[in-house]
Amino acid sequence: MIVIIQYLAAALILVGSIFALLASIGVLRLPDLYTRMHAASKAGAVGAGFILIAIALLSNDIPIILRALAGFFFLLLTTPVSAHLLAQASWRAGYKPAASTVINDLDAEIQSHS
């Protein structure tokens, strides 16, 4: 039983690290901040989340398990907030989406405001 849990945790750490790696590749390759936030917020959160769950599985210590799960929960709670704030702040600062953007309803919004 313990061996199974250890293999499961090892697999979770591996998959989590792969997600974190792919998230950083995404941040490097994607064309603008808005698309980059997709990679950073989703793949990044899942990667870190998997590693936290693996820690919860491996430690036989109730406080550590609870803290790892609390960390997972707060990670999911805070990641979208920071991604949203970064996107909103960059729009307010006048940062334009990449030229490949097909539709931008925000342009119409700017015109109706001015």
């Binding site: 390759r29 603008d32 959160a45 609390a70 999911l76 909103q88 539709i103 925000l106 919004e109």
Partner: protein, 162 residues
């Protein structure tokens, strides 16, 4: 949920995060939790029916599944050699039916962590949410997706008819 129960829950979370379950630490957690609740008392929602808790759990289940799906999808996009041809980024205005700040916050967070979509800006009158899409299929499909999926669930969780 009344204040007393919430204080107990917060004390427990405090003990969880600080890592010690001693009586003194639990009391300290209860004091901090009660102070936070006292500051926030005007914003605390009225009691919820059991059915709403079940709806909330079903929303969380849907959400975790969608989150995994979205991470896989965005990971699959960024490793493609012809990534730039695959991308069809767009910013779409989605009209909102939800009204309260709490509902909009929950919906915006859910949108951000689900496949291909990211909340960017909320219009000043809170009637529209501007959603960034990484691979757009069609504007109508996206809006229908959000309105029939998460927005419906969020309204269910927050409605008091149950």
């Amino acid at each position: 949920m009344n204040i007393l129960l919430l204080t107990l829950v917060l004390a427990f979370i405090w003990a969880t995060i600080t890592g010690t379950f001693g009586l003194l630490n639990l009391l300290l957690g209860a004091a901090v939790g009660f102070a936070a609740l006292f500051i926030l008392r005007a914003y605390l929602a009225p009691p919820r029916a059991l059915r709403q808790i079940r709806r909330l759990l079903s929303l969380m289940g849907l959400f975790l599944y969608q989150l995994l799906l979205s991470a896989v999808r965005v990971a699959a996009i960024v490793v493609r050699p012809n990534m730039r041809e695959t991308l069809r980024p767009a910013i779409i205005a989605v009209p909102l039916d939800v009204k309260s700040n709490a509902e909009i916050t929950l919906l915006a967070n859910l949108i951000t962590l689900t496949p291909g979509t990211l909340s960017t800006v909320i219009s000043e009158d809170k009637s529209k949410l501007f959603v960034h899409v990484i691979t757009l299929e069609s504007r109508e499909a996206l809006i229908a997706d959000i309105k029939d999926g998460f927005e419906k669930k969020v309204i269910e969780v927050f409605s008091n008819d149950g």
